[in-house]
């Protein structure tokens, strides 16, 4: 397993946000995490990136216990996250946003990576020297994904990449995620758009108030009556 989370618990002050989370992701898998607003999806990704401390439990990455590792060391190990709400550096140019995505890769062949990102998201080239804050929501989402890819992640964490985007752009984002998986990147995809996420996922986890309540193959979850009722609006 590339990622193994066991008995993970997390608190915000006295509020418990995660309770005994068990998740395992194999190399090359695309795994979806779905659940209602406030279920704890973002909190779980924050714990994985180390920007939110775990209260108990362990996170193992590639066999190594990373539960107490600093965020920057996890990036160096190969965990990159596209956070909820894109979080690009608005005043910095598109180029600088991408360059900083490769911050932990000293001596990296940044030019080659820039070319790769531009091939994946051609719109970025036309905005190359503009402040990221001037991009549209969809363009910022592409930039945020490209920035995370600049780290050459072994595990890519995506937090609601389709949020607030027009349907055409949502489809493009999901195609991108599938292409990344096809290229060998392991992806942990958080989505409120559960139907679309489970349709492309190998496996899925359903989170409810900080607990994993169901886990199964993506297609099996799509057909699951409980999931349909609660999350797919069917």
């Amino acid at each position: 397993m590339l990622l193994e989370i066991s008995a993970l618990t997390c608190h915000y002050g006295r509020i418990q946000a995660l309770d005994g989370i068990e998740v395992a992701i194999a190399e090359g898998e695309l795994v979806a995490l779905v659940g209602a607003n406030g279920a704890g999806k973002t909190t779980l990704l924050r714990c994985l990136s180390g920007v939110q401390p775990a209260s108990a439990g362990t996170i193992r990455f590639d066999g190594r216990d990373i539960t107490r590792l600093a965020p920057e060391e996890r990036v160096a190990l190969g965990i990159a996250q596209v956070p909820e709400g894109r979080q690009v550096w608005g005043p910095l140019t598109v180029e600088d946003n991408l360059r900083l995505g490769a911050y932990r890769r000293r001596g990296a062949d940044v030019a080659a990576d820039h070319a790769r990102m531009v091939a994946m998201f051609p719109i970025l080239e036309t905005k190359w020297t503009q402040p990221a804050g001037t991009l549209s929501g969809g363009q910022q989402q592409m930039l945020a994904i490209a920035r995370a890819l600049m780290a050459h992640p072994r595990l890519l964490l995506l937090d609601e990449p389709s949020m607030g985007l027009a349907p055409l752009l949502v489809a493009e984002i999901f195609r991108t995620v599938e292409a990344l998986k096809a290229g060998g990147t392991t992806v942990f995809l958080v989505e409120q758009n559960a139907t679309a996420a489970l349709a492309i996922a190998d496996r899925g986890y359903v989170l409810e108030t900080g607990r994993v309540v169901i886990t199964d193959d993506g297609r099996a979850l799509l057909a699951d009556e409980r999931v349909k009722e609660a999350y797919l609006g069917l």
Binding site: S49, G50, V51, A70, P71, E72, V75, A76, A80, Q81, P83, Q87, V88, W89, G90, P91, L92, D96, R99, L100, G101, Y103, R104, P131, G133, R147, A148, A151
Partner: protein, 291 residues
């Protein structure tokens, strides 16, 4: 008439340059941590005092300057590491109060390590004043302004052309995104204190031949740097530079045309006016600016 005005202007630009460096120091730390570091003035004091003490002990001036800058940077980093860092997670107001405590401690330490006397340094390139349209300009004033400009260019280069400088900017624009990109935010905080200490020390050193220095000069200089930063819009680098020059020139004109008794009051009047009438300063909200 004009010669007198020019004379005041030169004086104002000279002190304004020092306030601008101090204001930049406030801006850099504020951007990295949202902390207002009220020990910024003590960096100015330590730079000047350490240089005078080293020179008095027989160290050649250039070496004394380099050592004094390094000492001040070490003090700045120690302040971050042992006073600010342990309080992270505490309220920003609490951390600001910690910096006030640190400034008092540093003044006390300076009294003990050095003394309570005023000290000076020889002017860097002689005392022969230049005559400019009837006003006199001392070579040391040119040093002050020239060195300040050089520091500003250096900062611009650092923040716009080096990866670590850009990472510091990125941290100030969006700390979470910086952490997720692998920027060690602790290092950014430490560097912001080191840079601010360097700016303060350099200002304190070049001004010492003109104004002299003692263990207490940091109080006034810190407040004037703060008013420069507030006037320019806290966290705005360009604003801090313009703010510093405005504070310097305004107080030189007030001292010249009204009474030198008003000189130090100007900075306070500016702080109050800004806080009442334009809390975001001359250059508005922080966000799109670069240092």
């Amino acid at each position: 008439m004009f010669a007198a005005f020019l004379q005041y202007l030169f004086a104002g630009l000279t002190s304004g340059a020092i306030y601008a460096l101090a204001g930049l120091g406030f801006a850099i730390i504020f951007n990295a941590s949202h902390v207002i570091n009220f020990a910024q003035g003590e960096f100015i004091m330590i730079g000047g005092m350490a240089t005078t003490a080293l020179v008095a002990a027989g160290t050649p001036l250039p070496l004394a300057i380099v050592l004094a800058i390094l000492i001040t940077m070490a003090v700045g980093m120690a302040l971050e590491k042992f006073a600010v860092e342990p309080a992270r997670g505490a309220d920003v107001t609490a951390i600001i109060i910690i910096t006030i405590g640190a400034s008092i401690f540093l003044r006390g330490a300076a009294q003990v390590v050095w003394d309570k006397e005023f000290h000076s340094l020889p002017a860097f390139s002689g005392e022969t004043p230049l005559d400019v349209a009837g006003a006199t300009l001392t070579p040391q004033s040119l040093w002050v302004v020239g060195v300040s400009v050089a520091m500003i260019v250096l900062l611009w280069w650092f923040f716009n052309r080096t990866l670590f400088g850009k990472a510091m900017l990125a941290t100030s624009y969006n700390r979470l995104a910086a952490q997720l990109a692998g920027v060690a935010v602790k290092k950014v905080l430490l560097a912001s204190f080191a840079l601010s200490a360097m700016l303060g020390a350099v200002g304190g050193i070049v001004m010492t031949p003109i104004t002299f220095t003692n263990y207490e000069v940091g109080i006034m200089l810190g407040l004037k740097g703060f008013s420069a930063a507030v006037l320019g819009g806290l966290g705005n680098g360009m604003g801090a530079i313009v703010g510093g020059l405005i504070v310097g020139i305004a107080e030189a004109l007030a001292a010249g045309y009204l009474s030198s008794a008003y000189k130090d009051a100007i900075a306070f009047v500016i702080i109050l006016l800004v806080l009442f009438f334009m809390p975001n300063g001359l250059f508005g909200k922080r966000g799109s600016e670069r240092v």
